[in-house]
Every structure is written in C-alpha cells, then in structure tokens.
C-alpha cells in the first residue's frame, strides 16, 4: 500500500548573488543543517538523500557522489535528479514517490546552485537541439520574451501589466530574510530599467543566485510525531511539453494547464481561485505572473492583468502569489523549485513568519524550466483521503 507523505522540515541558505565564502558542499550543508534543526532530526534519522542541480553551471559531474560531505550522504542511498529549471520541483516530486512507495521512511531532499561559478546563459543554451534550435533560438530570456510578446498581442496586455507583477513580488520580498533582492521598486522604476529582450526590462526578470534548499519528507507513519502540523502532499504533476521551438502555443503555457487540471481533478478542487489560499510559483519574469495564473485556471484567458491590478494576488488579497518574493527576488536555479515547495510548506505549517498568509489550507508550488515545462505540487493542512 502506498503511504501518504508530508513535509516535516525545511531549510534554506540566505541566498546571495555570490558566495565566495563557501564551496558547494558547504553551501549545501547550511541548508541541510537548517532543515534538520527545523524538524528536530539528525542525519541518523534520514533514510535516503535526493539531490539535484544543473550540471553545467558548476561543471561538476556526479554531484550526488561529490556532495556527500555536505549532504550527509556517506553510507546512505543518494540519488540525483536533474531536469533543468524544474529540477527543484522534480526533486520534491521525487521525494514524494520515494517516501510514498514505502521504500524510505524519511528522505532529505536537496536542491542547490552556485550560479556565480557559471556562464548561466551559455550553459542553458546547450539545452536546445544542436541542429534545429541552438543556432536560432536559445538561452533563457529569448523564449520568455517571445512568450510575453505573443501574450500581449493575443490579449492586449501591456508592459505596465507586467511591471505591476514585478512591483508585487519585489514588495513581498521585503518580508523574506532569505531573498537575495530586497528593494521595493515602483512601476516607473521597472519601465525605466534597461530593456533586455523586448518587452522584458531588467527589473522584470530574476537575478542569478547562489543558494541551497533542503526539505525533509516523512510518511504518515512518523510525520505527525516529528511535526505537529506537517504539510501533506496531495498530488504531484510534471509535464515536459517542449522539445522543439515549434511545440509551443506561444502566449499560453500548456504544461501549466496540464499539471493544474491533473492535480485539481485528483484532489477534487473545482474552483482553484476560491479553494487555494496561496501560490508559490516558479515565475522567472513578471509577465509569467499574468499568463501562468490563467493557465493554472485561477482566472480566464486575458483576465489576469485586471485581477492583479485589483490587488487580489498581493499579501492580504484574495489569493496571494509569491509571499516570499518569488524567483524575481532570487534564483539559485537547481534550488529554486524546491524553495517554492519549502515556502508553500512553511505557509501550510504556519512557519512563514513575516510572510505568513493567514489560515492556509491549500497551497500550490510549481517549477518551471526546460523551456516551457511545468512541475506542480499541491500542499494541504489536512491529511489526504
């Protein structure tokens, strides 16, 4: 019989643009120690470790093997998952299956990245097909700019609509001591910042960061003993809809739509806008904050700008999005999806401190990457049926 699975502890580094004071193992260890302390567990209690990052950022092969002095993996099962930008969320999903299968009672999940050691765009560019895509359309920002342009053309959205999302997330980041960029900006600041790839301005987009995140999952046999209010995982989904440039319905995120439908159906959620209490979205640039909540089914196509202008996704609004400040405030890529998961878990567990949304029963966290891929987890306070 499959086991129900909960998050019982989380830990993060204080993410920065550059951490020359630590090597990769030490960075990982900071997050691991904080997660163990949060769950009041020691390494002896951990039955297996799941770790991930994007290889070509640090240039370290077999990271699962190399990292054991930081992860605590010596003489334990250590597994590596790598799926690009979605890695952090793929790790969370992997931990869910490892525990849910009954093979491992308590699993330590680690996502990390030292982007300061990388040529980020150079490394991302090699993700694309070497013959068909790489020469004409590659890197992170070009695809996002194409998506934003298509959305604006299809639905009449403006650069100001995008900037409003950036203003929101950067304000939210003021409440999160772990965020890298903690500076409030105005709409005018965003629109006046340098244009990187039309319509994306510098302040519309995420930074690159050094950081690590660790999450501990346990089965229903021990979760409530470890933690008074565990964060139960209600469902997971992953859709990799992009292999080639032509696979995308530009202006829509098909993978988000597939994940949301799959998870909400499984959990019996009919009106996500009303039934969800908070969303931590892997939203690497502002326009995604418009497009992707439509694909998640929160509002209809083209309706996101008005919904966001009305303050519904701000702290205190109907459905706060990214109370942590999200990816626009920090992006250690291999950790980023797992940070979303940890932040959603903290909201459910009531541990989100200054960024706590009151009375969270259901939260969604997502991962994005691979160019237009989505991973999603549904978190709940109540134990799933």
């Amino acid at each position: 019989m499959a086991k129900r699975v909960a998050i019982v502890g989380t830990g993060q580094t204080f993410h920065k643009s550059h951490r020359p004071d630590v090597n990769g193992q030490e960075l990982i260890n900071e997050a691991v120690q904080r997660a163990l302390a949060d769950a009041d567990l020691t390494m002896k209690d951990i039955n297996a470790i799941l770790i991930g990052n994007m290889d070509h950022f640090e240039g370290i092969n077999y990271v699962d093997c190399w990292s054991v002095d930081g992860s605590g993996g010596v003489m334990k099962p250590v597994l590596k998952i790598t799926t690009g930008g979605t890695t952090g969320a793929s790790l969370a999903i992997g931990g869910y299956h490892m525990v849910g299968s009954g093979m491992f009672e308590k699993v330590l999940i680690i996502g990390w990245e030292k982007n300061s050691e990388s040529d980020t765009t150079g490394a991302i560019t090699t993700a694309f097909d070497p013959i068909w895509d790489r020469q004409v359309f590659a890197g992170a920002i070009s695809g996002l700019a194409a998506e934003a342009q298509a959305y604006m053309a299809r639905y009449g959205a403006t650069e100001r609509d995008g900037a409003r999302v950036s203003v929101r997330d950067r304000r939210h980041a003021m409440n999160n001591p772990h965020a890298q960029l903690r500076k409030e900006v105005s709409l005018e600041d965003v629109l006046a910042s340098p244009m990187l790839a039309d319509p994306i301005h510098l302040l519309d987009v995420c930074p690159r960061s050094d950081g690590a995140c660790a999450v501990i999952m346990a089965s229903e046999d021990s979760a409530e003993k470890i933690c008074p209010v565990p964060d139960w995982i209600w469902g997971t989904s992953a859709h990799n809809t992009y292999s080639y440039l032509g696979d995308v319905d530009w202006g829509r995120l098909t993978s988000m739509d597939l994940c949301a439908r799959e998870i909400f159906k499984k959990a019996g959620i009919r009106e996500p806008r009303k039934e969800l209490d908070v969303i931590e979205m892997y939203q690497p640039y502002s326009f995604a904050g418009l497009i992707w909540i439509e694909d998640m089914g929160i509002v209809g196509h083209g309706e996101a700008p008005q919904y966001i202008w009305d303050g519904n996704t701000d702290m205190g609004g109907e459905l706060p999005v990214n109370p942590s400040g999200g990816v626009i405030a920090c992006n250690p890529i291999g950790a980023t999806g797992l940070i979303r998961c940890a932040e959603a878990a903290m909201q459910v567990m009531g541990k989100a401190e200054a960024r706590q949304v009151p009375d969270v029963h259901f939260a969604v966290s997502t991962g994005f990457g691979g160019c237009m891929w989505t991973n999603m987890l549904l978190h709940g306070k109540k134990k799933p049926n």
Partner: protein
C-alpha cells in the same frame, strides 16, 4: 508495500559508433522493442523516467532529447542522472507510491560523441584533484593496484575476466565486442594505466536500453511473464579516496546486505543463480563479487580459474559479456537488469544459463564504485 515486476525490456545493439543515429533514434528503437516485448502500446504506459547525463550527452537538460520518443508528450516524466539501475529504482518507486501503475525507464549514452577522460575528470574535486589529470581509468588503475596489493591478485588473474566475458559475448546478439582471446593477449595488449591493459578496460560504446516496470496489480495484465523485484538497495561511500578503503567497497557490501534482507536471501552464494555485474574493468568483476558476498574476499580469482563463473559454472557471471563487451555508460546498469530479466524468463537465447530462478543485477555511480545499486530479481513472485 506493494510489489513490482519488470514486464518488458528492449535493448539496441551496442556499437562503437552509431553515427547515423541520434539519442532520440536509439531511444525510439529501445522503447519500441520494450513495448513489443511487453505486449503493450505507449498508451498503456502512465509515466516515464529517462536516465541521462548532461555531461555524457554534452547537453544541459539532457532528457529534452529523448522525452518525445519515450512517448512522454502528455505523460508525467522525470530524469535520474546516473547509472540506469538508479533510474529504474526511481521508476519502480513511482509504481508503488499510488500515483502510477506502469513506468517506462530509458537510459542512453553515445560514448562515440563523448571525451571520456574530460568527462570523468570533471567528477574529481575541482581544487585538489582535477589538476592532477585524474580520470576514470587512472583512478581505477589506482584501485586495481590497491586491490592487488591487498589480496595478492596478479595481472593474469584479472585477464581471465576479459577472456571469459569477451568469449560470452559471442552468444549475445547485442554485444559490441565478442572476442576469442587468451590471457596472453590481454597481457600483451597496450598498457593504458598500470596495471590496466587495453583488454582490461571496457570499450567506448553507443546504446540505449528500456525497461517497463509495473505495480503488482497490473503486472499480469499484459502478455509478458513478469519478473519480480525481490530486493533492491543502493548506497554511497565517501567521496575522497583518502576517506575510503579503495581496496574494498563498503558501500557495495551494505547495498547487497540490504537487498538480500529485503529479498529474504540468507545465503547469496547458494540462492543467486546468475549475475550481471558492472565490470567496467576486469578487476572490478572480482572485487564486486566479493563485496556482494558471492565469493570470499581475495578468493574470486581462484573460483574464476576453476570455472565457477563460466556460463556452465555454479554461478554464471555476465553471460551477456558484461561491460567489457559493451559499455554505454549511463545505460550500462539498465542493460544488466534487462539481461537478468531475459535469463529469468528463459529468453536469453544462445547465452541462456541452465538454472535461472533468482538473478542479481548491479550498477555503479561515481569514481571507483563510490555508489552501488543492487537488484535481486526472481522468476517467481
């Protein structure tokens, strides 16, 4: 805990250079072979795990190259980076966690497009070790020396592994390097890194393997005889060689113990009928057998000489020819699983061993076997 079974396998022929095929082409072939073997269509598969490496593929997000051809367009998919046995381990757990019933697991490598020395050099510590020029072969030469020093093993003892495995490969249609050679041929082959001669080393290879794993509730629904997963485990040792006893492998001993315990195996020497083992270098077959409790430490070479590990011996080891006869790196452990499945079903053709009820498949991650994955499979539930 539910049980899981392997209900289909597909392997491409392992070749030195499949220069007319992309990663996707190789994967398409292996996936379709596995589906045909299982009597399934892609619609019967409800999730996919690819096993690939951004380093070996020279491509960030390497699974992007094979998602489509694994039929994952509208299915849940993820990617384990490491040996195929680890990808299959995750694939199996996904069949048991209540979310899915059938997982398609793939693993591919094109060694022909890779520079093994640079790629394995990147697995060393960037500050302390890489500058020494270390790579997998030089590291394993150190391990071979440590093992020889500890046990008194001779180069001619190791060479017997090469003679046996290249010989076995004649009966395996997917093997890359069937060779009729003698111990002298091995010892006279080029010295790559003392004490490893060229014929002590596995070749550079291209290949893809796919296996289909099912939850017990659906395992009998399809045409193929299920092969049951009886026990499995993996374990990772220290990273720095100075922190390890390089002449031993405590991680493998631990992984094997846990797999046997889960399988209810008390005396592996008697209860395991056939083994497919990760013999990237000749000495490794002997060392790994010993650490798995299938021979006493330092005694495997004697048993090999007595014929115990031959096709018709008391414990056939690598009847397929093993990695020495073809080593598509990431897929190599998945080939081991697929080979054991064929043996236990009685479908191994010319390289079928006589008695095959319980089999062991083995995979390795990292340098000099830092991490090991052990699968005990059984014909009977």
């Amino acid at each position: 805990m539910d049980r899981a079974a392997i209900i289909g396998v597909g392997m491409t022929k392992i070749e030195a250079n499949k220069n007319r095929e992309t990663f996707a082409d190789m994967t398409w072939e292996a996936v379709n072979k596995a589906l045909n073997d299982a009597g399934m269509s892609i619609d019967d598969i409800d999730n996919v795990i690819t096993t690939s490496s951004d380093f070996w593929d020279g491509r960030t997000i390497s699974l992007m190259a094979v998602g489509d051809v694994s039929g994952a367009a509208a299915k849940n998919i993820s990617c384990v980076e490491g040996d195929g046995t680890y990808g299959a381990f995750y694939g199996m757990m996904r069949c048991l966690s209540g979310s899915y019933k059938t997982t398609l697991v793939t693993g591919h490598t094109k060694g022909s497009e890779s520079v093994s020395s640079l790629i394995t050099n990147s697995a060393f510590d960037p500050i302390y070790e890489r500058g020494l020029g270390m790579d997998m072969i030089t590291a394993c030469a150190m391990q071979a020396n440590a093992y020889m020093h500890r046990t008194g093993l001779k180069p001619e003892d190791m060479a017997m592994v090469s003679v046996k495995n290249h010989g076995n490969a004649f009966r395996n249609p997917v093997a890359q390097l069937p060779m009729k050679i003698t111990v002298d041929d091995v010892l006279r082959s080029e010295m790559i890194a003392d004490p490893l001669h060229k014929l002590d080393c596995s070749p550079v290879s291209d290949g893809c393997c796919a296996v289909i794993i099912a939850n017990e509730t659906v395992a009998a629904k399809f045409r193929q005889k299920p092969v049951w997963v009886r026990g499995l485990s993996f374990c990772t040792d220290s990273f720095f060689f100075g922190d390890r006893d390089l002449a031993r492998s405590s991680a493998l001993a631990e992984a094997a113990r846990n797999a046997y315990r889960m399988a209810g195996i008390k005396d592996p020497k008697k209860e395991i009928d056939v083994v497919e083992i990760y013999d990237a270098f000749t000495y490794q077959e002997l060392l790994w057998l010993e650490e798995m409790g299938l021979a006493e430490y330092g005694k495997a070479a004697g048993q090999l000489q007595a014929g115990a590990f031959n096709m018709d011996g008391s414990l056939p080891v690598n009847p397929s020819g093993g990695l020495l006869a073809g080593h598509p790196v990431i897929a190599a452990g998945l080939y081991r699983i697929a080979e054991i499945v064929l043996q236990l079903r009685g479908d191994a053709g010319a390289h079928q061993v006589r008695k095959a009820k319980t089999g062991l498949a083995h995979g390795v991650n990292g340098l000099c076997g830092q991490s090991h994955c052990v699968w005990v499979l059984d014909r009977e539930r």
